[in-house]
């Protein structure tokens, strides 16, 4: 029996799977019909019972988040879908929306009903023109078919290139027409979110998982996954593997199992390091192949499940170069609001550049760790925390490689060997 459980991805291989005709053919919008006939509290309870947890990185129980919205308060409530997929390595929501945007819209209808919201916003990153077309067309078709407009509205909001807007409170500021900078919490969005109204912010995959739960029941969803990490999810495998791609599997599958399905690390090479859930999650090595990829298993091994973005790097890759590049990303994307993150990521880049060039000293490694210690937990949001993950974990597992840059006066690796067109570059 297959280890994979395609639910979200079940019909992605059909031509024009993104159309309302294709979605309806497979029972689309029947879950919304069923949910709208239920008491909102019963919908929340069903999602709670299913064990669904946030698929955007934090893993917070979705039903519980919905339950935090005050009821009977006579205020407008909002659902905001985070489609600002930008965490390095993360590439699941984008293909999902390209192949089947209607599942998200149906999820929005159900979630709006549950939290008694009349309005949902989908905040999508701006760097994916064709996905924007698909989602916009899907919303228009859902209105035409009468699924939207009769008590529940969905509006697409298109970002403009800022990783920080994936952070839920920065996203809300951005959606209100400001620079995307995180807010201090409390108050949490459930109390004062969009326009200071009770707001649920959920990831695309979380909301898209809801229609199948309504259709098949909480028990069905519970039957997949592990004790505390229920259900199936999209694992995105990329990098030095023979066959990268999306693998929808029950939570708790291991990298060894996924690699086996993907034809392994690229031929003639071996696994060196990988991220379990994007660049903000501490690196793993070949010692972690059998860790259960669920929320608890990955945490217990010192990292985070994050977005399940499995980026694979083989032995040709210089870990210092990899970490420096991620660090440059965090420096560029720091919004500048909090000093430890704004200044700290700048200094991390300076020191890492020296180390990669072979002009640093061994004391710089301790300085890096000290800086990380002073960035961690000292800002409004987790961007700075994320920046420290690749650094501290790489020094933990590959300290010798940092030292080798110093003793050899530069990087000992040939970057050509890491490329997929290795050997064909010199021309």
């Amino acid at each position: 029996m297959s280890k994979l459980t395609p639910v979200l991805s079940a019909h992605w291989d059909e031509k024009d799977s993104f159309t309302i005709e294709a979605y309806t053919r497979h029972g689309g919008y029947q879950a919304a019909k069923k949910a709208l006939a239920m008491d909102p509290d019963a919908v929340i309870q069903m999602v709670k019972d299913s064990g669904l947890r946030g698929r955007g990185g934090a893993g917070f129980p979705t039903g519980m988040k919905w339950g935090f919205i005050p009821q009977g308060d006579d205020k407008d409530h909002y659902l905001v879908v985070n489609a600002d997929e930008s965490e390095p390595g993360t590439c699941k929501d984008t293909p999902l929306l390209m192949a089947n945007p209607h599942v998200l819209i149906e999820g929005c209808i159900i979630a709006c009903h549950a939290i008694r919201a009349k309005r949902a916003f989908i905040y999508i990153r701006g760097e994916v023109t064709h996905v924007v077309r698909r989602v916009n067309a899907a919303i228009a078709d859902a209105y035409k078919a009468g699924h939207l407009g009769d008590g529940i509205d969905v509006t697409l909001h298109i970002g403009a290139g800022a990783y920080i807007c994936g952070e839920e409170t920065a996203l809300l500021d951005s959606l209100e027409g400001f620079r995307g900078q995180p807010r201090l919490r409390p108050p949490f969005p459930a109390i004062a979110g969009l326009y200071a109204r009770p707001t649920v912010v959920n990831n695309v995959e979380s909301i898209s998982s809801v229609p199948a739960i309504i259709t098949n029941g909480a028990e069905w969803y519970q039957s997949m996954g592990t004790e505390k990490s229920k259900g199936a999810t999209l694992y995105s495998l990329s990098g030095h593997v023979n066959n990268p791609g999306q693998f929808e599997a029950p939570l708790g599958i291991t990298l060894r199992e996924i690699l086996e399905l993907a034809g392994g690390v690229r031929n003639g090479h071996k696994l060196k390091f990988w991220t379990p859930g994007g660049s903000s999650t501490p690196l793993f090595t070949d010692a972690h192949l059998d860790i259960a990829l669920d929320y608890e298993g990955v945490s217990a091994a010192g990292s985070m499940l994050g977005t399940k973005a499995l980026q694979i790097f083989d032995e040709t890759t210089c870990v210092v170069r990899a970490v420096l590049r991620w660090t440059e990303f965090y420096k560029h994307e720091s919004c500048g609001k909090c000093t430890p993150c704004r200044e700290g990521t700048w200094w991390l880049v300076q020191i890492l550049r020296d180390l990669e060039n072979g002009t640093g000293t061994e004391a710089d490694l301790d300085k890096l760790l000290d800086l990380c210690d002073n960035i961690m937990g000292r800002s409004f949001c987790a961007l700075g925390d994320g920046a420290t993950s690749p650094i501290t974990s790489s020094i933990k597992y590959f300290r010798d490689e940092y030292i080798a840059h110093l003793t050899q006066g530069g990087c000992p690796f040939d970057p050509v060997k890491s490329t997929i067109f290795a050997g064909a570059v010199a021309q």
């Binding site: 395609p6 991805s9 390095p88 993360t90 760097e127 067309a137 620079r179 791609g245 560029h332 490329t419």
Partner: protein, 211 residues
């Protein structure tokens, strides 16, 4: 007709964008995309127009326009090419592609070719890592790129005949046309192109094979 003439900005379109939101200020971002769809970048005139329509200060609009990297304060090429040089794409070949394109086009990062056809920028992760190395043109996907394919892309763009995106519509739209889509306007091309590429479908395919 001057590109910077604010009268080219259509009031009805701008009002329809504002009406999408319960509070008008939320429309700043799509309005800035709209300005780029008319002028190719965010002009001072565009900022003034948005400020006037939303009844806020121009400084408040500028503050937003300068925060987000997709808003350009100077003209980019008709085809704006971004090479992903975040770690995974960089390692897989993005660095080599970016270096080759800079040399080939004789421009630096953020540069525009003298004919105004192509601009080049190194970009961050674009959520297509299973298709690395990734190049974007006007924010359409060019997956699994090589130095040669990236050069063909920019050569085609300069000749006015760029290849179609690998996962996108049947033709590559211009930067202004793409900006209109990002302003939320319908260009009727949503049904064009693949629903998914092979890596997206790999898990599904294996499951159907019982693996």
């Amino acid at each position: 007709m001057s590109l910077n003439n604010p009268s080219n900005l259509n009031d009805d379109v701008m009002q329809s964008i504002i009406k999408r939101y319960p509070r008008s200020r939320s429309a700043i971002m799509p309005l800035l995309h709209y300005v780029q769809s008319i002028s190719g970048y965010v002009t001072n005139e565009g900022i003034e127009k948005i400020a006037k329509l939303l009844d806020i200060e121009t400084a408040e609009v500028s503050a937003v326009a300068t925060f987000y990297t997709q808003y350009k304060r100077k003209p980019v090429g008709e085809y704006h090419v971004g090479v992903c040089t975040n770690t995974l794409c960089a390692v897989m070949g993005g660095d080599a592609i970016f270096a080759a394109l800079k040399e080939h086009l004789e421009i630096e990062n953020d540069g525009v070719t003298a004919d105004g056809k192509v601009s080049l920028e190194h970009i961050e992760c674009n959520a297509a890592c299973d298709y690395a190395p990734v190049v974007m043109a006007n924010w359409e996907f060019y997956d699994n790129q090589t130095i040669e394919s990236a050069k063909s892309l920019v050569d085609g763009a300069r000749a006015g005949n760029p290849p179609a995106p690998t996962r996108g519509p049947n033709r590559l739209v211009t930067y202004k046309e793409a900006s209109a889509v990002l302003a939320g306007l319908d260009d009727g091309m949503a049904r064009e192109g693949l629903q998914a590429g092979a890596p997206t479908l790999l898990g599904l395919k294996l499951s159907k094979e019982g693996k």
